[in-house]
Amino acid sequence: MSEPDIDKILSYGEKLADEAEVFMLDYTDISLEQREMAVSSVFEHAGRSLFVRVVKDKHIGISGTSDIARWKDCVDAAVSSAGLSEQVPGWTGFPEKTALPKGSDPFDPAVTVSPDLAAEYLDRMNAGAAIHPEARIVTGGVSLSNGSATIANSGGVYYMRKMSGISLGMDAICDTSTGYEYDSSPFLDRINPEKIGEDTAYWAKSSRNGVDVETKKYAVVFSEHVVDSLILDLFTEAVNGKNVLSKKSVFAGKLGEEVVHPSVSICDFPMDPAGFAWKRFDSEGTVTHDLSIVQNGVLSAFLYDVKTASQANTLSTGHAHRAGNGATFIHPHCLKIDAPKADVMDKPCLYVREVIGAHTANSLTGEFSVEVANAFFAESGRFTRPVKKAMISGNIFDILRGGVSISAETKTFDGAIVPKMRIENMQVIG
């Protein structure tokens, strides 16, 4: 079938199971890649993904396909899957239809899937990079996308979210010093291509001729990138309800206890105006709401989808996302961290703009030991000397327990609004 009929799929699923659910993604995108300061390739993509879940006697079955014509095979496979999976104790059923809160989708009609628009943004990035001609731009790229996500189930839920996206990336080299910058947003007017280009070239240029670092403890300032990829990623794992249920979280059993410094609070705001998520409902159709996860140092909530909430005898917090096979996974929509605000780079520090190997950190214990990239000694808010090479080591939960200060200015990522963070005593290995 050329146009998938969601009602027909649900109806077929309901004949074979107690409940049925369809999650469908519909998208078109275009990407321009640049080499030698000109467009080297153009990539267009259009497609659909169909994810089906069925529930039979509290057994959940899943399947998915990128070949919509095989929707019946997909439903049959989901039913077989339910026959094998274990019963979910306390299963409360897929979400029921309810009035959605007011709000907009993360969709900007100005983001058209057009090569001309992509080329314009590529040119503007190049113009920004030209401010630092010492750096050579190696590659650059712009992607534009739009589409929709539809969630429907046999309980009457039938919601659609329109989505758009622009993402830009660029990398540069200056001698053997490299720089990389990336940004993305659903909204065209929140992207500053000239700044991305300028920053890319700046990081490559200014990181040359780095100095050696003595092995000892330093006051370290993490950029927004590092706070997001190291601190918030590991924190997110620890408050994931699935990890808590399976005892793979250091926070399991600690609700109501002080787990970080009393000056630190962390909340999720799905519809925060400065965020990118703007989700009134999650990928199961649960209505989202603001959630305080840590309040004044005290752990106040974990994140759940319907299945894990059923197992934990609580309610879904509306944090279901979809993996490639149709299974749900739990993730925040728009995390924000609150801690004492300060001019974090006023006093002397080692500024770490990026790290190599953030994903190698121990997601269970919070231990990390990573290589810094584009790092600088700084004082009075200015970079004084680039660092040639260094490793930083620590434990992200110890860092949050010890207290930190954060910058007032933030950067928005997919899933968080993030400040810079100053940590007073961090082990640096030169």
Partner: protein, 445 residues
């Protein structure tokens, strides 16, 4: 209308069956289907791509329409590209259809996975999980010169994870096996207990104090060095773009004479491809030979750009529906002539790093970072106290020169490599002795 100088179509379709267990209960199990076709056109001024979900390769009208979309995209490009005329080679065929694996009922595989996971349920283990996956993938390739190729490959894997706890302390370990072809789960049931015992041992391990010291790498982390540090820096696109510390080094000494590093897509490892994403079948490429930079890995485009005598095409790989990128497949440091005992004795005082928790490299800067699963201190030429959360970083050229000894036996490990797209790979090494390494850790030992 500008002419199409070349085109190819790569249609990839398949099924993935997976089982996930958690604390000895089947969390989910099921099958997904996928199919994507990439139409790639080389026009006068560069490449155009169009990706379509699931097409009928016998439907000439649809194929022509998709090719026209890719051709229209190619007209927007502005960087002239050439592709080298290379022999397509003869794919090396391994037993990878896994007929018996496919015929085994899912229920039986789930039962065996539960047994495997259950074997990890030993004292002080508070949580276990396991995952099994089998993927059957067909590739149909054709190009504008009338060349056609087809392949069917099965990949299977399992992972088992154990979390140990004692008071407030928690430690985690995982074991994984991933192969091309069948993987009889029943044979691997003891892996659960092996995984759990290591997690419990880690409760007594200490965090190491970082610093410069000699280090011995086991085959897993030595393999990650071969892949991350040398492999990525030997990719033809990085060399062409001048963002690799190994660029323009052909014929130069880049490491010690004991170092030979090879990438081999034809090897029966997890990164095996009968032919690459451009239809080219190739054998082993010796990247570094006895310490000398010998060859780069190439696609047909980067071979033409960097020079026909600079390496081998056949190293272009792609996710279904994505553009080919120069990538590794099965990458390894070749065996030397030292025994394990000789290597540890030679190290005298340093660290032995075991297993890999992943790594990352910046080939332009020549910097890398890997994390070991665990390790041991080496004192007086013997292994001593167990250490955890230990990492290794450095610059590629220094470390290559610091490799003093290579062991006699090599072992390969399987995983996925990300370079914008994720593809299956394997890497390996014998035990390797580094005279000087930057070791990271936050402890005091």
């Amino acid at each position: 209308m500008e002419k199409i100088r070349y085109y190819d179509i790569r249609y990839v379709r398949g099924t993935v069956t997976s089982i996930q267990t958690e604390n000895r209960v089947i969390e989910n199990a099921g099958t997904s289907f996928y199919g994507k076709a990439l139409f790639r056109v080389l026009g006068e001024h560069g490449w155009g791509y169009y990706c379509a979900s699931s097409i009928d390769m016998d439907d000439k009208k649809t194929k022509a329409a998709c090719l026209e979309k890719a051709a229209a995209s190619s007209r927007l490009a502005g960087v002239h590209a050439e592709i080298a005329d290379v022999p397509f080679g003869t794919p090396r065929s391994w037993s990878c259809s896994a007929k018996e694996q496919a015929e085994t009922p899912l229920e039986e595989k789930a039962r065996e996975l539960l047994l495997l996971e259950s074997s990890a349920n030993i004292p002080e283990i508070c949580s276990t999980s396991a995952r099994y996956s089998e993927q059957y993938q067909d590739v149909i390739f054709e190009d504008s010169n009338g060349y056609e190729a087809a392949s069917s490959v099965c990949r299977t894997l399992f992972t088992v994870t154990s979390v140990a706890s004692r008071g407030a302390d928690m430690q985690m370990n995982y074991e994984q096996e991933a192969v091309v072809g069948p993987l009889p789960l029943a044979k691997y049931i003891p892996f659960g207990e092996k995984c759990a015992k290591r997690a419990v041992e880690l409760l007594d391990a200490s965090a190491v104090a970082g610093g410069r010291m000699p280090a011995v790498l086991d085959p897993a982390i030595g393999g990650v060095f071969a892949h991350e540090a040398v492999g990525h820096a030997s990719e033809g696109d990085a060399v062409r773009d001048g963002v690799s510390v190994l660029a323009e080094k052909l014929g130069e000494k880049v490491g010690s004479s004991v170092v030979t590093i090879i990438d081999d897509p034809s090897m029966h490892g997890y990164g095996y491809e009968p032919f690459d994403a451009e239809g080219v079948a190739c054998g082993p490429t010796e990247l570094i030979k006895n310490g000398v930079m010998n060859k780069y890995m190439h696609s047909r485009e980067t071979l033409a750009a960097v020079g026909l005598d600079t390496g081998d095409a056949g190293h272009a790989r792609a996710e279904p529906g994505m553009q080919p990128l120069v990538r590794m497949s099965n990458t390894y440091i070749q065996e030397g002539d030292s025994s394990y005992d000789e290597i540890v004795a030679e190290c005298r005082k340093g660290v032995l790093l075991i297993g890999s928790r992943g790594g990352q490299v910046d080939p332009g800067r020549g910097a890398f970072q890997f994390n070991a699963k665990y390790g041991y201190l080496i004192e007086n030429g013997e292994t001593g106290k167990m250490i955890r959360d230990v990492s290794l970083s450095g610059d590629i050229l220094s470390v290559l020169h610091n490799i003093a000894l290579c062991g006699k036996e090599r072992k390969m490990s399987s995983g996925m490599c990300g370079k914008g797209q994720s593809v299956p790979v394997s890497d390996g090494a014998p035990y390797v002795y580094l005279t000087d390494a930057l070791v990271g850790g936050s402890g005091n030992v």
